[in-house]
């Protein structure tokens, strides 16, 4: 059952990802990217990462993609992407696909060779089921990863200020 669910979600994610790359109009690309992200979110659920499941939907499929669509609407792209010019762009596509295929081959060889460790880790499923994924993750964030967690607040502040400074219209 779980395997079947995985296969369906994986297939949907790959098809949607291919459509993101191949579709001509950015609005459709963005909508297919939402589908991919939702599939990945449910794969997180399959992996018993409930907190990240919600975060993936709220932050990625929600906030980030709304921002993308908002900017696409704002830019009002009347002109579609120019049709592919024959010699040069064909070379670019060929080189890109070959590069990605080589990368994928390496990753796949490595991925198939990986074996899951036999011993139990610090958070076996029984412990996580008893305490709850979110509670354990929160404890980890505020103890072991407290400093990186504080740094993220600075990153967000810098991003807010930076985005406003860059997008601001010059007054002069």
């Amino acid at each position: 059952m779980e395997l079947l669910l995985f296969l369906v979600l994986a297939f949907a994610a790959i098809v949607a990802a291919l459509l993101v790359v191949t579709h001509r109009h950015p609005v459709y690309s963005a909508l297919f990217l939402v589908v991919t992200m939702l599939c990945i979110a449910f794969l997180f659920l399959l992996l018993r990462a409930e907190f990240l499941w919600v975060m993936q939907i709220a932050v990625y499929a929600g906030a980030v993609m709304v921002l993308f669509l908002f900017v696409i609407m704002l830019l009002d792209l009347r002109r579609e992407e120019r049709p592919w010019r024959f010699p040069e762009h064909r070379l670019q596509v060929g080189a890109g696909v070959i590069l990605a295929a080589a990368l994928a081959a390496q990753l796949l060889v490595a991925a198939v060779a990986v074996r899951a460790p036999a011993g139990a880790g610090p958070f076996p499923p029984a412990v996580v089921a008893a305490r709850g994924n979110t509670q354990l993750l929160g404890r980890l964030l505020y103890t072991e990863y407290a400093f990186p967690f504080e740094v993220t607040s600075v990153i967000l502040l810098v991003a807010i200020v930076g985005a406003m400074v860059i997008a601001k219209r010059r007054s002069d």
Binding site: S29, A30, F68, F123, T152
Partner: protein, 101 residues
């Protein structure tokens, strides 16, 4: 039946490679940016799969941080794209040659 770890890694590798194809071949800067997000999602999936296999939560904490950085990156990146569009009226990367030697 539980899903084996390599299945998730293979899916992550495929999604990452699709993202690379998009970044290398598309010329609309918005779609290139979306493909970068797709690649990040593939890496996140790998992180969570490994966290599950090792019965540890550190991988999930990493994904949390990646999510935060991705949100910040999207805000700044889209602001830059908007700024470029305002000045040059284009989102085609072949027209963005300001830093070309």
């Amino acid at each position: 039946m539980a899903v084996p770890l390599p299945a998730y890694l293979v899916l992550g590798a495929i999604l990452f490679a699709i993202g690379v194809v998009g970044v290398a071949t598309r010329r609309n800067v918005l779609i290139i940016f979306m493909c970068v997000e797709l690649m990040m999602n593939a890496v996140n999936l790998t992180f969570v799969a490994f966290a599950s296999a090792f019965q540890a939560l550190d991988g999930q904490v990493f994904v949390f941080f990646i999510l935060v950085v991705a949100a910040a990156e999207v805000a700044v990146g889209l602001a830059i794209i908007y700024g470029i569009f305002r000045h040059r009226e284009t989102v085609d990367v072949t027209d963005m040659t300001l830093m070309k030697g």
